[in-house]
């Protein structure tokens, strides 16, 4: 490994003599490449290939099995939208479960809600949490909060053993290959239903409406079968394949598309860079090419 000092010229600027690039194979036929200044960490964990690199365009980046998980520059969109939509559509979420999400970004957003009493984070890979706490402090900063209970175990097993315990469950998983594959199944959604309180709500990240249409179709059909209310919403994530991302919500009672003001809890009190009350509603307005994926 080169020492930072050896990489700099007299003005502390890296030379152009050496080009370093990280390339994600987004599909068989599509690649995104980011210029990096260095690799900060790389290991094979029990579950996956884990890396942290410093990119020039998007800042520090967490990569699992070659797929970009989160970057300092664009993570706010994904984490705000996966967290605040269910947290504000539910009138009073106190107990929240996050499956996956070991980088801590979703937990950080959940903790912005003063009514939250307990956040359980169930991450299968201890090293994702440890490396994120070490190298991604802006993202993982909430993981030491006393309201956060971290469990290193299989999220599917944890959910199957849980009954009527959570107001909101968020599935912040990697792609449906490797350790996350079981999180995209009807059996899992049924178990999530059982793990939720009687008026509970859940959201999962459900991939790209341009590049993963069959997956979205299947997941939406499965969540619709498991929950009385199912809705899909969209948000842009530049570093994810196709640049536009989908989330699917399943709910027992409340409409996920409608933010609710209850007591002191108002969308306007959140410090956010993407989410607002109006953005919440607009995210559920689906263009016809997406809406038609959801027709039975």
């Amino acid at each position: 490994m080169l020492l930072p000092g050896l990489l700099s010229g007299t003005k502390g600027v890296l030379s152009d003599l050496m080009e370093l690039w990280f390339t994600e194979n987004q599909t068989n036929d599509l690649k995104l490449s980011c210029r990096i200044t260095r690799t900060l960490h790389r290991e094979k964990t029990e579950f996956q290939d884990l890396a942290v690199v410093d990119t020039v365009e998007y800042g520090r980046m967490l990569v699992l099995d070659g797929a970009i998980q989160t970057t300092v520059k664009d993570e706010f969109v994904y984490h705000e939208m996966i967290a605040h939509v269910p947290m504000l559509a539910h009138p009073a979420p106190e107990k929240v479960l996050v499956i996956g999400g070991g980088d801590g970004g979703t937990v950080r957003e959940i903790l912005k809600h003063p009514g939250v009493r307990e956040v359980t984070l169930v991450e299968i890979d201890r090293r994702v949490i440890e490396v994120s706490r070490d190298l991604l402090p802006e993202t993982s900063c909430g993981l030491g909060d006393p309201r956060v209970n971290i469990r290193i175990e299989d999220g599917i097993k944890y959910v199957k053993e849980t009954r009527r315990a959570y107001d909101v469950i968020i599935v912040d998983s990697s792609d449906p290959i490797g350790p996350a594959v079981g999180l995209f199944s009807y059996d899992f959604y049924k178990a999530v239903f059982e793990a939720l309180a009687d008026d509970g709500m859940f959201v999962a990240q459900t991939e790209s409406p341009f590049l993963n249409q069959n997956l979205i179709r299947q997941v939406y059909a499965d969540i619709s079968k498991a929950f009385p209310v199912a809705k899909l919403y969209l948000a842009p994530v530049p570093t994810y394949p196709g640049g536009l991302w989908s989330f699917t919500a399943g709910s027992k009672v409340y409409d996920p598309a409608e933010p609710r003001d209850v007591g002191e809890k108002r969308p306007e009190d959140l410090e956010t860079r993407y989410y607002t009350r109006e953005v919440h509603r607009a995210a559920f307005v689906l263009p016809p090419f997406v809406a038609e994926l959801l027709r039975p």
Copy 2:
């Protein structure tokens, strides 16, 4: 050039032995690569490097000076949103001017409005039109319509010589380098104002809110100075840098964010895959990180 027959095995499927990729340098530090099956056309025109390639992920693609302009698979979002927003926010557009847009996609969408009497397309590079008509029939299909008047000349010069002539003007340009640079200036927006009828409206593509923030800030300030009403809206375009794209509208009278039903003209009558009445309104709902770019 290889003959298609020589590329196929017994089942007509290309072998994996040869990998062909087209790579766009989206910024100095970011690249998007698309697997291609072949290059259909490549030339140096009077103005730019022009190519058409067949990509596996996004279908046939037009490339100018190395930058992706349009692909068969995702062009509907860009063309519907640059055309139908002003066409429906204006109550009765009859005369429409398109600057750039030689691939014909914007003209194709404009012609879906039965009230349109005349569309003038001013494209500086004759070869973009000729090659698009030859190789991108789905996109260029409207260019032969009797209502369409094609002029091969400099759009800036044409606009400066025009007075109070158009109901809607659409600037469907390439990036602000090369031939399009003059289309991103206060002087040009002033000339567009003069070329519009007394209740006219104009829209320009204005790059990525993630990657071109200084440009968006400057363009919005300039359009706000030239027009009484200025508004920015967003739409996802997977093959453009950052995946989310911005459009800025300048208007003399009407609110660009509000589709208008006048007589038989209703958003619901349009055949579209991205645009709807609700999508129109939602596109103007800006997340805080974009809204703050527009503050004076």
